[in-house]
Amino acid sequence: MLWPLFVLLAGSDEAAPSFAPLRAVEPWLLLARTLALTAAVLAVTLAIGLPMGLLVARTDTPGRRIALVAHAAPMFVPPLLPALGWFYLFGRNGLIGGEASAGLLFSDLGAVLVLGLTFAPIVTSLAALALWNVDPSQEEAARVVARPPRIVARILLPAILPAIALAAVVVAALTLSEVGAPMFLRVRTYAAAVFARLGGVDFAPAEAFVLLLPVLVVALALAAVERRSIGRRSFAVLGLRSFRSAPFALGRWRWPAAVFCWSVTGLSITPLLALGWRAGLRGFADLPLWIGGAVWNSLVPAAWAASAIVALGVVLGPLLSRRDRAATRLDLVALLAFVAPGALLGVGLAAIWNQPETAWVYQTSAIIVLGFVGRYAVVGVRTLAVACTQTPAQIEDAARVFGAGYLRTLAGIVVPLHWRAILGAWVFAMVFCLRDLETAVLYYPPGRAPLAVRVFTLEANGPEPVVAALASVQVLLTLALLGFALGAAAMRPRAHDDTSVRQRQPEFREHAGAL
């Protein structure tokens, strides 16, 4: 991650780095506007995601689990796709659109709503996950003397604050770095401007890097907020506890809650369904002509990258969970890479790898894999760090005392204990790579455009039904992957998985000793 950016900073023979762009007022105004947009998106996601998370995780709202799964779908696809879906509905010539709805959609407010609805499931999911894993003893004690609203306000919400903060950081990072949807909705954002700067007629990547510096400051601020306000709890709270409190009975509020829950779910999946509607039979019939090898071009690099990211997570996650200093610094770099405009990373990678000696990387999917790993390593590292925090470090220490080497400890303890987290990290990383647009779009190998890029390059002038069909394929591909993951996670657990890790600590120590 750092290498490509240093190459850009060093400049080329044509474009020496200059801080002149930051002396103008326009970039700062644009950054302020982007931060305001990000804050508004954050507000929408929290306003939707928090109550939704509470309802699906801690109440007896009818159909809550199905609602959660359906509601979560948009967060796994590029935001450009829901934006396209809304356009097919509310564009001037959309199914139920008119001048007013088109005006609303193609405005700052429209961008906030589209991105807010797309990213709200991130808050919902993390809040629900945290709520499922809150220590039930405090809540059960509170139930004796307090009514549910008070328990929510005084016990549950404070307990899941780290998860909410983590969700906020993820939403802010994704909004700041998003390019496709704002460009489509004609809303100027900082990341889109950096992307356009890299596409400007006078090629000056060093200048684009200079424009990145304020974003890096924002990313550092986000990381600092996370570290200072949440600290170690950001890893500890999202465990995989096996026993939970009974859900709150909503009584007469049960059906109004269901209406809210399913309305939000409806809003989440409507744009995705609209893609299928717009594609129609014609779009899907023409698909073979236009899709080429795009699915394969998406899946192969994403699978390689996800495997590498998980491998990194298996190595760095345990170290990060124990607050190893080097791992903590690498985690910070990974977080910065996640927030930084992906196009810049892409140009830096091209500058490094397009040499005759390294053509075997630059001319193949390996260059995309490298970009994905640099950009999304944080997904694997954080997921594994969260999982490893749930197990005491003494288990690994004991193994080492008994002479197990590093690799054997990983293979004998870390991997078997955390196989579900590893699977989850792989799927999450794969999904992030599949939904990526801005990292690969400027440097994908000739003839190997991933599906998201193909949708992006065809979107402006391609036949709408075909573009909608391609987008639908992207959605179906992602959902199939998630379905596979859910199926794998639902497999009958082995004996040592179905009980709290902490409860079985002596057993693990024994296991480590045997190693």
């Binding site: 644009l30 004609r186 596409g199 491998a311 193949t364 002038n461 036949p463």
Partner: protein, 338 residues
């Protein structure tokens, strides 16, 4: 392996080796970078593949960075060129490659029928199916302003005058295209651009966006290319096309242009593709699919396509225009906001 660092290195090597383990091509191939719309250019490549058996590996530009994204990639890759052919949507960008010594001169065998104005005598670029820069006008939005025409918003040159009806496919008399630095000087161009801003003119990110803005009625009219304009007409939107400056300086005509890259990995296949892209057969495909104007006189045009010979084309030196474009970039960036 006894240390995490060793493990990280092993992971990096394994994954890179795995991702690189793609089979070498079994048949001849050619790499083309193009800023011609993917929806139009890809069928041409497919036909070339079917006719010649040469596999085409393509990189397409996005609408928002049209021409320049690909151009920048070509410049960035100059030390180790990956592309064999650059099929540009206009004849101006290739000169930025020429000035950097990245172009291999070549005159396609099919270029004989192309008028001299649309090809380089040195073989640096050869024009093919062309577009014109036109005004796309929304009839419904214009209804209340018909007496004044689109020039009510577009700044006029000194002297003003009565604008003609924008609904005819001929030029408004006084509603003229922007004076370039090439013709009117920097000062006049700056005044014109500032006047645009003062008139609350919206700066769109692409021709496709202009089309969407006009067809949706968000703006009364916009400056775009004929392919997008005809696409808007075909969609049934209440729009008309106006060729500006037909009784003055002429309308800007931009042929797509084919350029060979110096030091390209597949020079022979590149020449074959260049021959094909300049051929009447490829032009015919662009005429049918994208309403481009053919440059070969023997390529028939459907009723909705206006041949180049029937409009007054702006007499322009594309090389000089490219130099001006390069020079005024800082001012343009400042004007557009970043």
């Amino acid at each position: 392996m006894r240390h995490p660092l060793q493990m990280l290195v092993a992971i990096a090597l394994l994954v890179t080796a795995g991702a690189c383990s793609e089979r070498p091509p079994t048949k001849p191939e050619v790499v083309v970078y193009t800023s011609v719309d993917q929806v139009f250019s890809e069928p041409v490549f497919r036909r070339f593949e079917a006719d010649t058996g040469v596999r085409v590996r393509s990189v397409f530009d996005t609408e928002e960075t049209k021409s320049t994204g690909i151009l920048n990639r070509l410049i960035a890759e100059r030390a180790n060129p990956q592309a064999d052919v650059f099929w540009s949507g206009d004849p101006v960008r290739p000169f930025l490659l020429v000035s950097r010594g990245l172009v291999e001169p070549y005159t396609p065998t099919s270029a004989a029928g192309i008028p001299p104005a649309f090809k380089s005598a040195q073989g640096h670029w050869t024009g093919s199916a062309a577009r014109a820069r036109v005004l796309l006008v929304n009839r419904e939005r214009l209804a209340g302003r018909r007496r004044r025409g689109p020039c009510a918003i577009w700044p006029t040159r000194a002297g003003g005058g009565r604008p003609p009806s924008p609904t005819r496919s001929t030029a408004p008399r006084r509603c003229m295209s922007p004076p370039g630095s090439q013709t009117g000087g920097d000062a006049e161009a700056t005044r014109f651009l500032d006047a645009l801003k003062a008139n609350d003119v919206r700066i769109a990110s692409s021709n496709g966006e202009v089309k969407r803005l006009v067809t949706s009625g968000e703006v009364v009219f916009g400056l775009t290319d004929t392919d997008d304009a005809f696409d808007a007409v075909k969609s049934g939107a209440p729009v008309d096309i106006v060729y500006p400056d037909q009784d003055a300086g002429g309308t800007l005509v931009m042929p797509t242009s084919v350029v060979l890259i110096r030091g390209a990995p597949h020079p022979e296949a590149a020449r074959r593709l260049a021959d094909y892209l300049v051929s009447p057969q490829a032009e015919r495909m662009m005429v049918d699919a994208a309403a481009h104007m053919p440059l070969h006189a023997d390529v028939a045009t459907p009723a909705h396509v206006v041949p180049v010979a029937r409009i007054r084309a702006m007499n322009i030196d594309y090389a000089a225009l490219a130099a001006v474009m390069d020079r005024i970039q800082p001012q343009l960036r400042k004007w557009s906001g970043l």
